[in-house]
C-alpha cells in the first residue's frame, strides 16, 4: 500500500446516541486507500474490532515497524484490491486513536472527557460512519467488511441503512454475545476498574494510567482469541530457562502473554477498552423483535458473505450460522463458509490461503 496518512473529519452537528445522550460535536479520524471512481460506486468500508484503528493498511513512514492491522488484505493486487476499490478505514467513536473518545479533549471543558464520555454502541458507530460517508460524498457502499466486533458493524449497516450498502462481509462474528463471551468482557473490565490507578476513569488528571488492569484485560483477551491447539503448537509447555520454583516468567506462554499485555497497556486507553467491550455486550439487533433475528433483518437488502473459522470458540461457527439462518429466512443472497483454521478467533486476521481466496473471489465478483 505504500505510505499513507490519516485525515480527520470534524462534525459540528450533534449526534444522538442510543443511550439517549447527545454528543454536540465530534471528530472521526479515517484513512482511505485507492481512488473513488467517478460514479462513487466503489467504496468499501472496513470496520475495526475491539482494539483496531483507522490505520488498516500501509505505513506512515518507511521506518514504521508494522503496517496497518489488515495490511495483508488491503492493497493493490490484494484480495481487497485498491486498484478497484476505494477503501475507507475509520476509528470508531469512543476510540483512542484520534476520533472523539474518553482520552480526547472535551471542547466544553478543555479537559479530556474521561469518564464523562458517553457509552457508545455498534448502532452509534454505524450512524457516525454514515455521516462520514456523507462527508466524503458517498451515497452507497459497494461493500462493508468487518471481523468480530467489526462484523457486527457490517451486519448493522445492512439493517440501519439497507439502501446504502450492496454487500456485507461478516467474518468471525455473531448476532450477539453469549453469556460466556460477555463474562470475559466483565473480567477484563473489572481488572481495569479495580486498578487503584483507574480513579473512576479520570486517571488523566492524575497523570497516570491503569496499566495493570489494562494489561490483565489484554492477557485474558489473547487467551480467548487463540485456540488450545495453536497455543500448544506455539508454546506448549516450553520453558524459557528451566523451572525456578518462582512466580516469574518461566513458561514461554507467560512470556508471550506478558509481552502482549505490556505492549497493549502502553498504547491503548483503558476507558476506550471499557466502551469497546460494552458495545460488544450490548449489540443484539434481535432484542427489539422478541429475539427474532429474522425479523431484525427484514429490512436488509444487501448480499452477504458470512465466514467463520473452525477453531474459533469465542465467535463460534454456530453463531455465524444463526446469522445465515436469519438471512435465509428473508430469502436474501448469502454464501457461507466455515474455514478450516487453527488460529481460533485470530484467524480472521491471518493470511490463510483458502480464506483469502474466498475474499478475493467474492470481492472480485462485486460490480462497481
Amino acid at each position: 500500500m505504500g505510505i499513507v496518512s490519516a485525515q480527520c473529519a470534524h462534525f459540528d452537528v450533534p449526534i444522538r446516541l442510543k443511550s439517549g445522550e447527545m454528543l454536540p460535536q465530534f471528530d472521526l479520524v479515517y484513512e482511505t486507500y485507492g481512488t473513488l471512481n467517478a460514479e462513487r460506486s466503489n467504496a468499501v468500508l472496513v470496520c475495526h474490532a475491539l482494539s483496531g484503528t483507522h490505520h488498516v493498511a500501509g505505513k506512515y513512514a518507511e521506518t514504521d515497524k508494522y503496517p496497518g492491522w489488515w495490511d495483508n488484505l488491503v492493497g493493490p493486487g490484494k484480495p481487497l484490491d485498491t486498484n478497484k476499490f476505494f477503501v475507507i478505514g475509520v476509528n470508531n467513536l469512543g476510540g483512542c486513536h484520534g476520533s472523539s473518545g474518553p482520552s480526547s479533549m472535551n471542547p466544553a471543558t478543555g479537559k479530556p472527557w474521561g469518564a464523562t464520555f458517553p457509552v457508545v454502541t455498534v448502532e452509534d458507530w454505524v450512524q457516525s460512519q454514515a455521516l462520514l460517508l456523507d462527508h466524503l460524498g458517498i451515497q452507497q457502499l459497494a461493500a462493508v467488511i468487518g471481523g468480530s466486533l467489526g462484523g457486527m458493524q457490517a451486519l448493522e449497516w445492512t439493517i440501519a441503512f439497507p439502501q446504502r450498502v450492496r454487500h456485507a462481509l461478516v467474518i468471525a462474528s455473531a448476532p450477539n454475545l453469549t453469556a460466556q463471551n460477555m463474562a470475559f468482557n466483565e473480567v477484563a473490565r473489572q481488572a481495569i476498574i479495580t486498578d487503584p490507578e483507574f480513579y473512576g476513569g479520570d486517571y488523566y488528571s492524575h497523570d497516570t494510567v491503569p496499566r495493570r488492569g489494562l494489561r490483565i484485560a489484554r492477557m485474558l483477551g489473547h487467551i480467548t482469541y487463540l485456540s488450545d491447539d495453536v497455543m500448544g503448537e506455539k508454546f506448549g509447555r516450553k520453558l524459557k530457562d528451566g523451572i525456578k520454583y518462582s512466580f516469574d516468567v518461566e513458561f514461554e506462554m507467560e512470556s508471550y502473554l506478558r509481552y502482549q499485555g505490556d505492549k497493549f497497556a502502553g498504547e491503548f486507553d483503558a476507558n476506550t477498552y471499557l466502551r469497546m467491550t460494552r458495545a460488544l455486550d450490548y449489540y443484539d439487533p434481535a432484542s427489539a423483535f422478541d429475539g427474532r433475528l429474522s425479523a431484525a433483518l427484514k429490512s436488509a437488502k444487501a448480499k452477504f458473505l458470512v465466514l467463520s473459522f473452525t477453531s474459533d470458540w469465542r465467535f463460534s461457527p454456530e453463531r455465524s450460522k444463526e446469522i445465515v439462518q436469519a438471512l435465509l429466512d428473508n430469502e436474501l443472497n448469502v454464501s457461507y463458509a466455515e474455514v478450516t483454521a487453527a488460529h481460533g478467533h485470530d484467524a480472521f486476521l491471518m493470511p490463510d490461503k483458502h480464506y483469502h481466496d474466498i475474499l478475493r473471489a467474492y470481492l472480485h465478483g462485486i460490480e462497481v
Binding site: 435465509l328 443472497n333 448469502v334 454464501s335 457461507y336 463458509a337 466455515e338 481466496d357 474466498i358 465478483g365
Partner: protein, 206 residues
C-alpha cells in the same frame, strides 16, 4: 461431493440431465441444490430459468468454484440434515448425482421432501448393462464415465439400481411424478434398468 464435476471454464457442454432438471423446475422458482459441486447446475438454472436459491457444498474447492460462479453457496454437511431450512420453503430441492455418496440416504430424501414442495434425485444406475457386464464378465467393480472411481477410493457408499429406487419410493410412500433415464445424453424408454446409465426422478411426498 458431486463426482461429475463439470469444468465451466471450458466451452459450455450441453448436458441433457441439466436440461431435464430445468424442465422440472418452475420458472423463477426457489431451488436448493444439495451437493452442488462447482455450482454449474444452479448457474444453468439461474441463466435458463431465472431460478433463485442456494447450493449446499461441503468441499472447500467446490465451494470456492460456486462462489466464482456467482451462486449462493452454503458450506454445510448434508449428513447433518437440513434443519436450517423450513418446511416447504423451496419449490424444488435437488440432489444431483450425490445420493450414492450419502450415508443417511433415507434421512436426506425425507428431508428433501419436507423442505421442498418437490424433489429431484438423480443417480448413476448401477443396473446399467455395462456395469453388470464388468462385474459378470470382467469380475471387477464397474468403472465408467458415470462411475469413475476404483472400489478403494470411491466416495460412493450407496449405489443402487432403478429398480431399487422404485422400491425405495414405494416403501417410503414417496410419489414419483416423473422418471427419466438417459444414456450418453439420449433418453432411454424401454428396458430402462438395463439400458439406462443415469436415472432421474421427480418426487413429491406421498
Amino acid at each position: 461431493m458431486q463426482y461429475n464435476v463439470n469444468n465451466t471454464n471450458k466451452m459450455p457442454i450441453f448436458r441433457q440431465d441439466f436440461a431435464i432438471i430445468a424442465s422440472w423446475v418452475p420458472f423463477s422458482g426457489k431451488v436448493l441444490d444439495l451437493g452442488c459441486g462447482d455450482g454449474a447446475l444452479l448457474k444453468f438454472l439461474r441463466d435458463s430459468m431465472e431460478a433463485r436459491g442456494y447450493g449446499v457444498e461441503k468441499d472447500d474447492r467446490n465451494w470456492l468454484s460456486c462462489l466464482k460462479n456467482g451462486i449462493n453457496v452454503l458450506q454445510m454437511d448434508l449428513e447433518a440434515g437440513l434443519s436450517g431450512f423450513d418446511d416447504q420453503s423451496f419449490d424444488t430441492v435437488i440432489l444431483s448425482q450425490t445420493l450414492q455418496a450419502m450415508h443417511h440416504t433415507e434421512d436426506i430424501v425425507q428431508e428433501m421432501l419436507r423442505v421442498g414442495k418437490e424433489a429431484i434425485v438423480t443417480f448413476p444406475n448401477f443396473g446399467y448393462w455395462l456395469n453388470r457386464l464388468q462385474i459378470a464378465v470382467g469380475g471387477h467393480m464397474p468403472v465408467s464415465d458415470d462411475l469413475p472411481y476404483q472400489w478403494y477410493d470411491t466416495p460412493n457408499v450407496h449405489l443402487c439400481t432403478i429398480q431399487d429406487f422404485d422400491n425405495f419410493c414405494e416403501n417410503h410412500r414417496i410419489q414419483i411424478l416423473e422418471r427419466k433415464v438417459i444414456t450418453r445424453g439420449n433418453e432411454v424408454h424401454a428396458l430402462a434398468n438395463l439400458r439406462g446409465a443415469l436415472a432421474m426422478y421427480r418426487l413429491k411426498a406421498g
